[in-house]
Symmetry: C2
Subunit: 328 residues, 2 copies
């Protein structure tokens, strides 16, 4: 007999974040209808999720409202139109926006005090070379009363010393978590292990959590999320039906089926998938397919595959393979 069966119990401190609206917004320029957003929001409340990322705090100059939908900017007035007086009605679900470093957000002006907002957390996303601005952003958001995280993107193309420096700086901020972000969907299990252990070590003694944000290029988003959980990650990202850029994300319906915390309910998730997310499949391409497999295997940004999948021969795998192989 095995000594124990950890797969039938649960860890109460593990918190689930739905980033369907934020990451899914990368495939439709955040052009969700109000009804779609409301359906996703209410499903998250009913399912007992801990966090829902409802969009970006993107700069309206760089991401103009005539091209991008309102969840790119997460203006308070618009959010309240969708979620109402959220903190009074459904405080168990914390709402979140992502703010990018590198000039994509106008964070000094866009982020109002948390007590005036339906939002409770700002996740600061940066590339390694943007860490100095990201640290400033974390301090600013913290002072405004938000919980914060640091999401270091594209970690699979960084060197050890770069990651170490970022983590050392992040450890000194008030961020509540540092998140392992496999932007290119490139990492295999042993690499996830290596990174999760590294992140955990870097924040040891600070009470910060480690998080995981996986992409599904190699059909490993869910598996890598499980792996991170086994190693102690307590902040876990997923999206409805894996909706997200390129190959998409860890599917929420698989994650909730795996977690054994009875507070999470699967049925509202299946309902919103069936009624709101599945119909989007007719319009948009996401989820693992061979072009995304290949960019994942080759540790490339998915943009080449996205543009190929949007072209006239999305299933000409050989043409895509020959093209990317010619580039290496």
């Amino acid at each position: 007999m095995p000594d124990k069966a950890p797969w039938i119990t649960f860890r109460p401190e593990l918190r689930v974040l739905d980033c369907t609206i934020r990451d899914g917004g990368l495939i439709n320029d955040s052009q969700f209808t109000d009804d779609q957003l409301k359906a996703i929001y209410h499903a998250g409340v009913a399912a007992g999720l801990d966090y829902m990322e409802v969009g970006y705090k993107n700069s309206p100059q760089q991401f103009p409202a005539d091209k991008y939908g309102p969840t790119r900017h997460c203006e308070e007035e618009y959010l309240r139109k969708i979620v109402g007086d959220h903190k009074a009605q459904a405080p168990a679900l914390k709402l979140v926006a992502m703010a990018d470093a590198g000039g994509k957000s106008d964070w000094q002006r866009q982020i109002i005090p948390a007590k005036e907002s339906v939002l409770s957390m700002i996740r600061v996303a940066c590339y390694a070379t943007q860490i100095s601005e990201a640290v400033e952003m974390i301090h600013h958001c913290h002072e405004q009363g938000y919980e914060t995280t640091l999401n270091l993107m594209a970690v699979s193309v960084l060197q050890e010393a770069e990651i170490d420096t970022v983590l050392q700086l992040a450890a000194q901020t008030p961020a509540a978590a540092v998140v392992v972000v496999d932007s290119f969907g490139n990492l295999y299990r042993e690499q996830i292990d290596h990174l999760v252990r590294k992140y955990a070590k870097a924040v040891e003694g600070t009470s910060k959590d480690v998080g995981i944000h996986a992409h599904n290029n190699l059909q490993l988003a869910f598996a890598n999320t499980i792996e991170a959980i086994i190693l102690g990650c307590n902040r876990v990202d997923a999206t409805l039906m894996g909706l997200g850029r390129g190959a998409g994300n860890c599917p929420m319906e698989l994650l909730l089926g795996f977690l054994r915390n009875p507070k999470f309910k699967l049925r509202p998730i299946l309902e919103v998938i069936q009624n709101t997310i599945l119909p989007m499949k007719k319009q948009f391409d996401w989820g693992p397919s061979i072009p995304y497999n290949l960019t994942g295997q080759m540790n490339m940004h998915p943009r080449t595959a996205m543009s190929f999948r949007a072209g006239p021969t999305p299933d000409d795998y050989i043409a895509f393979y020959d093209r990317v192989m010619a580039d290496v």
Copy 2:
């Protein structure tokens, strides 16, 4: 820096088996055209695969030829029509058939001496209660000159003592490998670990390999295969584009992208997928979808989900969920 990066090297003794024709035959009653079979076969040769399972040695009485295609019976004459004088032309690829215990095969009569056949290996599949017949079958096939394996099916519904008994008997046979078979696509990483370690321990000192055959209900077939490989499994099953019953199998294109043995070639695999397997998607349903997720999570045979997916409302996830939840 990590001590080592095992994900960039390879293990020469790891052998890959393609079971597209055998497992895929469960979704089309093995009604492949000769051209489809030839394309799959030639792709396997060109890709440098080690084994290809070309069908079942099913009893022609129970699986009559007017309903089931010829790869259910793997008659020598038919196989030679597809693969020619295989052992002379492409000896690096060993051809395989599966024989079920429990009366599904007529193994005493159907299995001709290996030296007269294009086949080199017979995989004996059984449920736990059929192990006595399976042991007889292994001996018989071994005496006929075949390499053999024991594939104990539906391991996720067995008790420890049952698995132990099967393994103890299997360890005494001439089988070259015992295979961990997750028929219902139910197992998570820690359960795979537990089983692979148990199988390895049971065959310690016998020179037998441990194998892995994973199903993709939870999008974990590839991940669980990687996990088994990390733990030392040297016999690995996959299928083209995951073609296989229900949620399908570990996708060969992902597996070969992961393995770093330069003898394996990805391009011929992508070519046969694009030209031969992808067109089958118009006719047949396979691959992970929510009904298969749910039977996987609930450790059920996929047949309920297969029949639902073949019905009038394959995407009424809520109806399927309510039905299976009412049954538990």
